[in-house]
Amino acid sequence: MRVNNIPNVRTCIAPLTEDVTVETQDTFASWPKETHNTSATKADACTVDVLIVGGGPAGLEAAVQAAKQNAKVLLVDENQQLGGQLIKQTHKFFGSKQENAGTRGVTIAKELEETVQDHTGIELLLESTVIGFYEDTSSDYFTFAVSKRKGYESSIVKVQAKTVIFAVGAMENMLLFPGNDLPGVYGAGAVQTLMNVYGVKPGNHVLMVGAGNVGLIVSYQLLQAGILVDRVVEAAPIIGGYHVHAAKLRRCGVPIYTRHSIKEIIGSDHVEAAVVVRLDENWQEIPGSEKTIECDTVCLAVGLTPSTRLLSQMGVKMYTIAEAGGFVAIHDDYMQTSVPGVFVAGDNSGIEEASTAMIEGKIAGVAAAIQTGKTSTKQAKELLDIFASELASLRAGPFGEKPRIAKQKIQTFWRKNQ
């Protein structure tokens, strides 16, 4: 979209203000009409002890802990609002009291946001994206370029950091099928944003693809919003999410079809129907089992892939670990990667839950502060041990099995590389 003569504006995340002209843009951006020559300005710059990339549960906790240990922290997030995925999580959390069980994600986000905003040691850079890792021979610190949006314009900020914590989360997986680019096909994250953050109905008649926790919870939230959920299809032979979420859906009359997947979408400029198909034991489509379902919305809740591109660019050692969701950085017990001073926390170090992401963030925050030399090592190390045992107890249950395997593999690779 074009806003106030500026092309390629991502209007889905840009706040709307008074007196703006918003125009649609087809494929190419047209050249900006205004061609006056303004004198170039030098990029803004800042230097910090700990740069935290991503203001979701892991990043927020990391910021709080690092700042508590006297480190000067910069927290960068591409959205206008802090909290990451928490702000769309209107459901209550499971787990122990300590880890906010019984509290809704959106409430946790609000509390963390207030703590972060009140802390003088934390500087915030919202609506900003860390776009790359760069060489700067004039400094021993890590140098990053950050694209900072102000209104609909953007500028580059040079950020130099002694240590960095990547808490950028994950990207939603997409499926390949004819029609997957039509309006009406959403990722579950987008559906949650529309409903739970903006209060906008994504459609009226939904086919949900994926019966993991996200698929089940979002289906229930769609029902709560008065939207018809036709059915949930799941390619695996079993339901991946918690039984309690599945049971809730079934009580409302929404069937869950395992060993079923989406084959294609019918419609020319928007979703009019979807064709689902049954799968055999080898996950192959069974010919003749196709069924056409009338719907205007298809929601894909088919897993997440850790966002690791900046880590790759920094030369951090990485491995593909299926249980972690793909290519992830290996790290030590305190979340430090193979590049000293570079830490990870949350989904980008293996797909898991918000509750574990928060503890990983706490560990990374303290560990990074220790690395900067801003804190007393003994006291901080005790804190690390407390967080580590909390993390272990959270992962001890049956639903912690996958991340437990993922983290064991990360540990094995880590030791092999020492």
Binding site: A29, W31, N37, T38, A40, E135, S154
Partner: protein, 382 residues
């Protein structure tokens, strides 16, 4: 098992693959060894421009002949290399530069090039978005037959055509050593196999000196990291490549709409530095928006680095070595390897196959550096 090849080519960039093609066409049995993938070095990271406006006669001649070959190349190789001719617009900033341009244009015209001086008022007829005051321009030169092509597609087209003629191309194969017998190349050892041969072509780009060292030859080339960026897509508006020797900038609009260009950073140093620099972002955006202010709010999409293999006179080192028989130099292109590749590769193939050495080839041998006077190429950007 000991294999044999008439010629072993080290380096699977555009020149290595092109030489493989022309040699195969001349009936020779060729093996190419590339330690990474085809086009993984300078070829795949280059700005893709093809220019004939040079200050030295050798480069101009090679470039004119290369353009004639580029014009036919898609048909000859049977694959589209996306060659198009939108011209090169060279911006001049001082009277001194204008005088040099006039000299160059005169020389280039004697070689048959369609090139002309352009007044300040005519610049926007060729590229509308340029700010002549911002660029501090006093004039320009324009050659409409300059252009660009897709370096990956060109390299792959050469490689596929060479393979069809029987060439063996081995990617992900590292050359470990080259054996000689009585100052004559005899064998190439790789991490996978050994090949007996009487000819080795060093087309390893920035890593050429490591190959030359294997036979005891020292070459004066130095690797320099160069950076390129691509912006978001904009409506296709101009076809010419815009360059300035004073500012070192070059940029053009790709058929897909992205503006692609580069500029040297002030604190440039030789070495295998791989990371992009923050200095480049600052320098490139300052200069680019001075040239084309409309780009002010356009985001950069990608930024990558590659190496120029730079010689003391910014001209390539070509031909058989005078001390080690059978060792053929094909490196030191100083940022111009892609655009010169068709003609250079064909000449080297003809030399190896038929002992035919053109006068241009003679003048670009390594031993030219033993002379006191070397003709320095002035027209360098990036």
């Amino acid at each position: 098992m000991n294999e044999h090849a008439d010629v072993v080519i080290i380096g699977g960039g555009v020149n290595g693959c092109a030489i493989a093609y022309y040699l195969s066409k001349l009936g020779m049995n060729v093996s190419v060894f590339e330690r990474n993938y085809l086009g993984s070095g300078a070829t795949g990271s280059c700005g893709a421009g093809i220019r004939q406006q040079w200050s030295t006669k050798e480069n101009t001649e090679l470039a004119i002949q290369s353009v004639h070959m580029f014009e036919e190349l898609s048909d000859e190789l049977g694959e589209d290399i996306e060659f198009s001719q939108g011209g090169y617009l060279i911006i001049n900033h001082t009277e001194e530069e204008l005088a040099q341009s006039k000299k160059n244009v005169k020389m280039q015209k004697t070689l048959g090039l369609d090139v002309s001086m352009v007044s300040v008022d005519e610049i926007n007829d060729i590229v509308p978005v340029l700010d002549v005051n911002g660029m501090d321009s006093v004039g320009a030169t324009f050659c409409p037959t300059d252009g660009h092509a897709n370096p990956f597609k060109t390299t792959f087209a050469y490689a596929h055509a060479a393979e069809q003629l029987g060439a063996n191309i081995h990617t992900h194969t590292l050359v470990k050593d080259i054996k000689t017998k009585n100052n004559q190349v005899s064998e190439v050892l790789t991490d996978k196999k050994s090949v007996k041969t009487r000819w080795v072509v060093d087309a390893a780009g920035a890593w050429s000196s490591q190959i030359a060292k294997m036979v005891g030859i020292s070459i004066p080339n130095k690797p320099f990291r160069k950076e390129v960026l691509a912006t978001e897509r904009l409506e296709p508006l101009f076809k010419a490549m815009v360059i300035s020797f004073k500012d070192g900038i070059y940029f053009s609009q790709q058929p897909e709409g992205n503006i692609v260009g580069g500029i040297p950073i002030p604190e440039q140093r030789s070495g295998f530095y791989e990371l992009p620099t923050f200095s480049f972002i600052q320098h490139m955006s300052e200069t680019l928006t001075r040239y084309a202010p409309a780009l002010r709010d356009i985001n950069m999409l990608r930024h990558w680095t590659g190496y120029y293999d730079v010689t003391p006179d910014a001209r390539p080192i070509l031909g058989e070595d005078s001390k080690v028989r059978g060792f053929v130099h094909c490196h030191g292109f100083s940022g111009h390897g892609f655009m010169l590749s068709p003609m250079v590769s064909r000449m080297l193939a003809e030399y190896i196959s038929n002992d035919k050495e053109s006068s241009v080839l003679k003048r670009l041998r390594l031993n030219r550096y033993e002379d006191e006077d070397i003709d320095m190429e002035q027209n360098v950007v990036g």
